[in-house]
């Protein structure tokens, strides 16, 4: 019996431990390291680490205007991103959900920005907003193209929103299409026989039936917005004048630019706490949908 137990454990270890080891190394252990470093004042390079207890956390909540500026930016971004990306992708999905050749090609077109790298996306928009707009201004003479889009804080916010929306619409569109296709055809036919027009069918049947997809897309968009980092790091670098510093980018900068390593890890923990709340809601909603389906 004992020998069999050992054999079973050996097999389990052989199958599972390599995967566990990789995940521990790349994610779990680094995450736990946050807990350790967050109670020290440390520049990330030198040998001297001063224990400050909860000092870093106190500093975040009482004396860190840039961090809270980042929170404000992230929340503002979240509001506009969630609304705009969901409206556009829902409209596109409604048009593209009909089974026809043009719509399957159309879907692919909207999906392309989602599968190209962020480097390409950021360079493409850099080119469009820079040389491209300069050229368009020469052609049209519209003042709109002459604005300094990347150089003005107010406009840079919209540059970030435009890039994020352009990149991700395809993803939400696919989710909405899946929801729309799942609406039972006989339900729609029955309503039409009863004399409902297309608009009534949409409002009274399609909309209630795709509500689960809507809530999931909204929450996915919200978590994406809270975690906004890649576009900022690759494109605006938080500029101009720190106007596009998101929470995650503020943490990154604190560690690698300002060399305040302990403070940065403490911020990471605060950041995780807020994201976890949203994720928990998201999981609950996804779960409840699974039970229904």
């Amino acid at each position: 019996m004992n020998k069999k137990k050992w054999k079973d454990f050996f097999l389990f270890a052989l199958f599972v431990f390599p995967a566990v080891a990789f995940v521990l190394f790349a994610t779990d252990v680094p995450f736990m390291m946050n807990l350790y470093y967050s109670v020290f004042d440390w520049n990330g390079i030198g040998k001297s680490m001063t224990f400050v207890g909860l000092g870093n956390f106190v500093k975040i909540f009482t004396n860190d205007t840039l961090f809270w500026k980042g929170v404000k930016f992230t929340l503002k971004f979240a509001v506009f991103y969630v609304i705009i990306v969901n409206i556009i992708s829902l409209v596109v999905a409604l048009i593209m959900s009909k089974e026809r050749k043009s719509s399957s090609i159309g879907r692919a077109f909207y999906y392309v920005p989602y599968i190209i790298s962020l480097t390409a996306i950021s360079l493409i928009w850099k080119f469009i907003f820079g040389a491209g707009f300069e050229a368009l201004y020469n052609i049209t003479g519209w003042e709109f193209f002459n604005w300094s889009w990347v150089g003005t804080p107010k406009l840079a916010f919209w540059v970030v929103v435009i890039m994020a929306v352009w990149q991700n619409v395809g993803f939400y569109m696919v989710n909405y299409i899946a929801g729309i296709i799942a609406v039972p055809k006989d339900l729609i036919e029955a309503a039409k026989i009863d004399g409902a027009n297309n608009f009534q069918v949409f409002l009274k049947i399609t909309v209630p039936m795709i509500m689960p997809a809507v809530s999931i897309c909204m929450l996915t968009a919200l978590t994406f917005a809270f975690k906004l980092f890649d576009i900022i790091m690759v494109f605006t670098k938080g500029g101009p004048a720190n106007s596009t510093v998101s929470v995650a980018y503020n943490i990154y900068k604190e560690a690698f630019v300002n060399n305040k390593y302990g403070l940065a890890t403490a911020k990471s923990l605060v950041f995780v706490f807020f994201v976890l709340i949203v994720t928990a809601i998201q999981l609950k909603v996804t779960k409840s949908r699974e039970v229904e389906a």
């Binding site: 097999l11 390599p18 790349a26 994610t27 790298s117 850099k126 690759v234």
Partner: protein, 275 residues
Amino acid sequence: MKQLRKINLLAVIVFVCSIFWLMPLILIFINSFKPYNDMLQHFLALPKSWSLDMYIETWTKFGFPMLIKNTLLYTVVTVLAIALLAPMAAYKLARTKTKFSILCFGIIIMPMMVPFQSYMITLTRLVANLNMIGTRRGLILVNIGLCMPLAVYMIHGFVKNVPIELEECARIDGASPLRIYFNIVLPLLKPILTTVVVLDTLATWNDIITNQLIVGGNAKAMNIQNALYMQFSAQTADWEHALPGIVMSMIPSLVFFVAMQKHIVGGVTAGAVKG
């Protein structure tokens, strides 16, 4: 007749909107064949000649053969490791019902709850402590670890629906556990494994953030995305070389997308909604 016209009109609207959405890509493509002055003066026009000179110059000047070699290496090794290890772990975890097994599963899927941005700083520190910053093996180890959670999670969900009877028959017939796994279970996992492989191929090929953090400025180990980013994201960009570079870096992803469209679209929906 009226019906037909209505449908055609809708199709035209769909087409026009889609083209408009891809306008940035189209503009990049047509301008990549122009000298800088033409970009500014004839931004919307087709290039005067479709000469590949700038493409060839960019290819050699920025060391594309080396970059492509690096990117391919990272992608292939990461994806192979995932394809070997993730299904093994997922299968065993789904079939073992002990507290320890649940703990291991928890350790593997924990990162799906926690944003990457919250531990990327400490991850970089850990890799630095192991003296692997700027190295190929450091990046590969990190990539495998980062791709693993979602892969195991997706396959785990799939294994639960694979009937256990087949394995029991084989066990009674005297097949060893390893044989059962490789000859019976693994072939059944092919659909979900394809999805995982396709998603991780795209993710590794397109990766810029991890490459920035782990490889940084080490020119020898950069992937194509990181190198383009380092070369061209400066204030005054050299668009004559940047645009052909962007186009060349996108071609593999686009070809891959066209070939694997079904798996990519289905897989992304299945994977991302959960996490």
